[in-house]
Every structure is written in structure tokens, then in C-alpha cells.
């Protein structure tokens, strides 16, 4: 593959990059040696100068569409990246028993803390800060349904990650959402229905407001 010689633009990060490299030095740079009357100027070698850095080092190669596609598996709340396919509660129930129940329990009770509880509606009031024994589940905590697809698809089952087909992942999502009382058992999951699911925990999350300084947050 050829390098992208001459076509890369510094872009947004250009200025920050220069500042960052400046921070790597001692900041003194080429300070003039004023007041140094002893040394003979003729004896000085040419003053050292830093190498002028190029706009691009032209390292790496163009990423191919195929290699991006092979790894670009993330699914965000818009659901735009969800694949074709469809999954039902019934298929999910069967799959859960086969592939999930060994760690997460027959009823999604889990084996905390390593294998979290997945199914459970309480507490409805999101009072987790009051008692660490209250378990965070899909039904009472997870703010986005798309996260279920993203995570199961990439990382589950623990000993066979990445082994499930889109239909299988959709089915497990349908089963887990229904068991948590978020959707009905008759609701199939696909690229259209999944992002439309509103999770009970959706409005409970707030942006980090800590920024240091006096006063503990």
C-alpha cells in the first residue's frame, strides 16, 4: 500500500500536537548565551536547532474498507450500525438456557460479583447509593437497550466470545428485555425495534460534575 504522501492535513489536532511536543522539552529552547564573554564565537560549533517537524510523517497506510468493516462492530444508541436479522423471546429463552444460564443463573440471578445479575426490577427508585446489596440489572439500571446488542455480540458468552449470529444476539436481547419487564414477550427485536426501546434507567444518568478544587463532590 502506498503512503498518503502530501495529502494528509494537520486537522484539529495540529495545534495541540505542537504544544505537546513543546511540553516534552525543558522549555528553555535556544536561549541565547548572553554575557558569556569568555568563549570565542569562532570556537562555537553551529548552534543546535531542533529538526523542523513535517506536516505528516507519512507513517502507516490507508486503512482498507474491508479491514475497517471486519472490526467496526460497535452499536450506539441510534442503532444505525445494527445488522440485518431478527430475534424472538422464544429463541432467546432457548439460547439463554444453553449458553448463558451456567454463569448468569437459570433466572438471571447471576453469581455476583463476577457474573452479574441480569434480571430484576427492584429497586424501581434507583436507590443504589443507599445500599450496595441492591443489584444493578438490565431492567433497573442499563440506560440503553442497544448496549445489550453491542456487548453480547462482542464479548459473550465468556468462553466463546464473538460466536453468536445477529439473529441469536437479537433473540437474547428480546428474551432479556422481556424477562426484565421492559418489553412484551411478543415483541421481536431487530434493527428498527431495538433502538426504540426506552430503558427504565434511561433518565437516571448525569454528567460528571467533579472538577477538583475545594469542596468534595
Amino acid at each position: 500500500m502506498s503512503n498518503l504522501s502530501g495529502v494528509r492535513s494537520p486537522g484539529l489536532a495540529g495545534l495541540a500536537f505542537l504544544a505537546l511536543l513543546a511540553g516534552c522539552s525543558d522549555g528553555r529552547g535556544a536561549a541565547p548565551a548572553t554575557g558569556d564573554a569568555v568563549r570565542s564565537p569562532a570556537a562555537d560549533p553551529a548552534p543546535a536547532r531542533p529538526v523542523a517537524l513535517p506536516a505528516s510523517f507519512n507513517l502507516g497506510r490507508a486503512a482498507s474498507a474491508a479491514e475497517i468493516k471486519a472490526w467496526d462492530i460497535d452499536v450506539n444508541p441510534t442503532g444505525a450500525a445494527l445488522p440485518e436479522g431478527r430475534g424472538t423471546y422464544d429463541a432467546g429463552q432457548k439460547l439463554y438456557a444453553e449458553k448463558c444460564a451456567a454463569c448468569h443463573g437459570a433466572k438471571g440471578e447471576g453469581m455476583p460479583p463476577v457474573y452479574p445479575m441480569l434480571i430484576g426490577a427492584e429497586p424501581r427508585d434507583f436507590s443504589f447509593a443507599d445500599d450496595f446489596k441492591k443489584h444493578k440489572t438490565i431492567g433497573n439500571y442499563w440506560p440503553y437497550a442497544t448496549t445489550l446488542y453491542d456487548y453480547i455480540n462482542r464479548a459473550m458468552p465468556l468462553t466463546q466470545p464473538g460466536s453468536l449470529s445477529p439473529d441469536e444476539v437479537y433473540s437474547l436481547v428480546a428474551y432479556l428485555l422481556a424477562e426484565n419487564g421492559v418489553i412484551g414477550r411478543d415483541v421481536a427485536m431487530d434493527a428498527k425495534s431495538l433502538p426504540a426501546v426506552k430503558m427504565p434507567g434511561r433518565d437516571r444518568f448525569v454528567v460528571d460534575d467533579r472538577s477538583g478544587g475545594p469542596g468534595f463532590k
Partner: protein, 411 residues
């Protein structure tokens, strides 16, 4: 034969057949070359070990992590057995989500794509050809201190209380430099960092962090990363929670909204009183912990003892560490031993003349933003008893009349 000639002939034999003699000695001891043999009664009367490929620890030193033995779980750094500020690479804490991935560096590549002008793929050589930097930073797991907060026990050691923090000299390339090559589009406000492990762990990170001080690192304390720390390349976000410093990095996607990955929604969020949870709580708060004296140490007698520990903040430099030996009634400034580097562990020391009476030792860090490590009560009032991450309250160690030291969970 005189003593002198015997000594000379023995030395000659060792010189000419040093390898054979060394091997025989080691064979007699039943040890591989890298292991140290048992200490002889008088080491001045017997040659020592020959040179070896890799040094082992003294046979009298056995620092170990405390692994949980599961694929998705932690192992804790033995803070009470370490000196200075650098964590030996083989003792850096672990927290994996699908086991520690073994990656062939010849097959490794990093893809940068999404909202960029030029989607790029780098191999390891490409990465190392960029200008690199070397910096000392801690990585702390956001869950560090959870067990001590929820279920404190008197016999807990610094390792068990706070062993999910480690401090390392990292070498790598500024992420801003790679983003500059790719040409990040102005609408990209976040990037997804993804690992090539079995969890394919992914986190959404604000682009501002990449432009600030984020690094892609391949060097750990003078050598390549350990497998458990993300070999060959991990993301390092100085001062930010360990989970976001994605190990075994393979992909960076520039995006305009967070992905809402599992580890930024169902985990690594902080429940707060009032039915809310804090999200994207990346920065690690100012914190300190006394590592000596601490359980299981026993002070042998009254008199002078150094109270030593570590302090750090994810928001910059540690400005001050105070130590109390009377449970917080009075405080003294501890010596903060430089160099004090930002977002790095510093060692503090307070010389204490123990009078042999019961004492309660506390340490309290203040960082350069003015943030002060809170008491447990103040922490609990703000964050709640059930909060899940970022446990930076003041730790306590109780010294009994007989010198026994125990963890004081209610301090």
C-alpha cells in the same frame, strides 16, 4: 600446600572453568540459573552465582499479587512490600474482562477510522517511528477500595485495601500525533477505543483528552508492556480510571456521540444519593494511603518509626500530604518526596516517635487544584454507602499497645 597456594589454585580453577563450576554449584542447589540459591552460612567463603540471563528476586523476597483466578476480575499490587514510587512491571495490578490476551506483535495493527480525513492502519514499527515520550503516571482501577469501603476487616493489608493502583514509567506516542496524521474532522467530539482481547473492551473517550495528554504506550519501565498490561500497545489516559486505558488496543473510531458501551453504562458509573448515577466519571480523585506501618506489620518496640505511604491525584500534582497519629485530632505535614510529577504516585514520609500507646494513623492528600481527600463520613454523605467507584476517602490504621497494626475501616 599452604593456605595461599590453595586459595590461588582454587581461584584459577574458577577462572578457567567458571561456567562449569557455576553450573555445578547451581545443579547441586537444584536451581535454574535465574533463581538464586539458598544463602550459604558465610557468602565470603564461597563463590557467588555466575552471570545469568535474567535476575530473579532474592530468595528471601516474595512479593506477589493477590489474584482472584477468574477471567473477569482483578489481582492486587502488594503496596506494603514496595519502595519508592515505581511498581515493578510483574506486580502491576491486573483487571481483565476476558482474560489477559496474548498478541503476536507481527500480527498487531491499529486502525484509526470514523470521522477522519484519512483512515489509517499502523503496525508496531510505524508507531515506534513517531517521536515518543516517556512519562511516569499511575493507573488506578475505578473500583479500587470498594472492598475496604463496603466490607472492611481489621486484617486487610494495603494490598487488599488499595492494591488496584500502580505507577509506571511509560513510553509511547502522543495520541494527538496519530490523530493529526488521520486528520480528525471538527465534528468528531469522542473516540471509541477498542481492545483486541476476548472482551473486545470498548470505551468512549472525549477527543479533548487525546489533544491534552493521552498516549499510546508500548514501553513499561524500560521494556515492552507485560501481557497483563496490554502488550503490545495500550491506551494511557493520564489520571483517568484504568478501565478507560484500553489494553491490547486495536481500533480507534472518531465519533460524534459516546457509544454507550457496557463499561460506561452498566459499569464504571457512580450511583449517587437522590436516584442518580454519575457517568463518564473519568478522573481519579486526590488520594493517599499509608503503606507502612500497616497490617500485617507489628511494631517491635516504641520509639521512632517512619510513617510512609503513597499519594496521587488524577488532576495533577500532589501539593500536600498530612499525617495524623491521633485519629485526626491533630495533623502534621508529611515530607512529600520529589520529584512530584503530575498524575503520578509520590512517596510521603512522616517520622513518628511512638510512645507505645494505642494510636490511629491517617493520611490526607491535597492536590494542586486544592482538592482535599475527604473523611469517610464526608465521602459517604456525598456519594452514599452504595456508591460503586472512586473510593478516595481517608484510610486509617490502628496501632495497638502491643504494636499490632490493623485496618480501621470506620476511620
Amino acid at each position: 600446600m599452604s593456605d595461599d597456594s590453595r586459595r590461588i589454585s582454587r581461584r584459577a580453577a574458577i577462572t578457567t572453568t567458571a561456567g562449569a563450576v557455576g553450573a555445578a554449584l547451581l545443579a547441586r542447589a537444584g536451581l535454574a540459573a535465574q533463581d538464586a540459591p539458598a544463602a550459604p552460612p558465610d557468602p565470603t567463603k564461597l563463590p557467588g552465582m555466575p552471570t545469568s540471563a535474567v535476575s530473579g528476586r532474592s530468595p528471601f523476597v516474595h512479593p506477589e499479587r493477590a489474584p482472584t483466578g477468574v477471567l473477569s476480575g482483578p489481582s492486587f499490587t502488594p503496596l506494603q512490600e514496595l519502595t519508592g514510587t515505581i511498581t515493578p512491571s510483574d506486580l502491576h495490578f491486573e483487571r481483565h474482562h476476558g482474560g489477559a490476551a496474548v498478541i503476536d506483535p507481527q500480527k498487531w495493527k491499529l486502525v484509526i477510522h470514523g470521522m477522519v480525513e484519512h483512515p489509517l492502519t499502523f503496525d508496531l514499527e510505524d508507531l515506534k517511528r513517531f517521536p515518543s515520550v516517556t512519562r511516569v503516571h499511575f493507573i488506578e482501577c475505578a473500583g479500587n477500595g470498594r472492598n475496604a469501603y463496603r466490607t472492611p476487616k481489621p486484617d486487610m493489608t494495603p494490598q487488599q485495601v488499595d492494591g488496584l493502583t500502580s505507577n509506571t514509567e511509560w513510553t509511547g506516542v502522543p495520541l494527538s500525533l496519530l490523530f493529526r496524521e488521520a486528520g480528525v474532522k471538527p465534528k468528531a467530539t469522542w473516540f471509541l477505543a477498542e481492545g483486541g482481547d476476548a472482551a473486545v473492551l470498548s470505551r468512549s473517550i472525549p477527543v479533548t483528552k487525546a489533544l491534552d495528554d493521552a498516549l499510546l504506550v508500548w514501553g513499561q519501565n524500560g521494556e515492552p508492556l507485560r501481557v497483563q498490561n496490554g502488550y503490545p500497545v495500550r491506551l494511557l489516559l493520564p489520571g483517568w480510571e484504568g478501565n478507560a486505558c484500553v489494553k491490547w488496543l486495536r481500533r480507534l473510531e472518531l465519533i460524534d456521540q459516546p457509544n454507550m458501551s457496557r463499561d460506561e453504562t452498566s459499569k464504571y458509573t457512580d450511583p449517587l444519593p437522590g436516584g442518580k448515577a454519575r457517568q463518564f466519571s473519568f478522573e481519579m480523585d486526590a488520594k493517599s494511603v499509608i503503606t507502612s506501618p500497616a497490617a500485617p506489620t507489628k511494631l517491635s518496640r516504641a520509639g521512632w518509626w517512619p510513617v510512609r505511604g503513597l499519594a496521587w491525584s488524577g488532576r495533577g500534582r500532589i501539593a500536600r500530604v498530612e499525617v495524623s497519629t491521633d485519629g485526626g485530632k491533630t495533623w502534621a505535614d508529611a515530607e512529600v518526596q520529589g520529584p512530584v510529577q503530575p498524575k503520578a504516585h509520590v512517596r510521603f514520609q512522616h517520622m513518628w516517635n511512638w510512645d507505645g500507646k494505642p494510636a490511629l494513623l491517617l493520611s490526607r492528600a491535597t492536590d494542586e487544584t486544592g482538592a482535599v481527600q475527604p473523611t469517610r463520613a464526608a465521602f459517604q454523605a456525598v456519594r452514599g454507602v452504595g456508591t460503586d467507584f472512586h473510593f478516595n476517602y481517608i484510610r486509617g490504621w490502628r496501632v495497638d499497645r502491643d504494636g499490632a497494626v490493623t485496618f480501621e475501616g470506620a476511620a
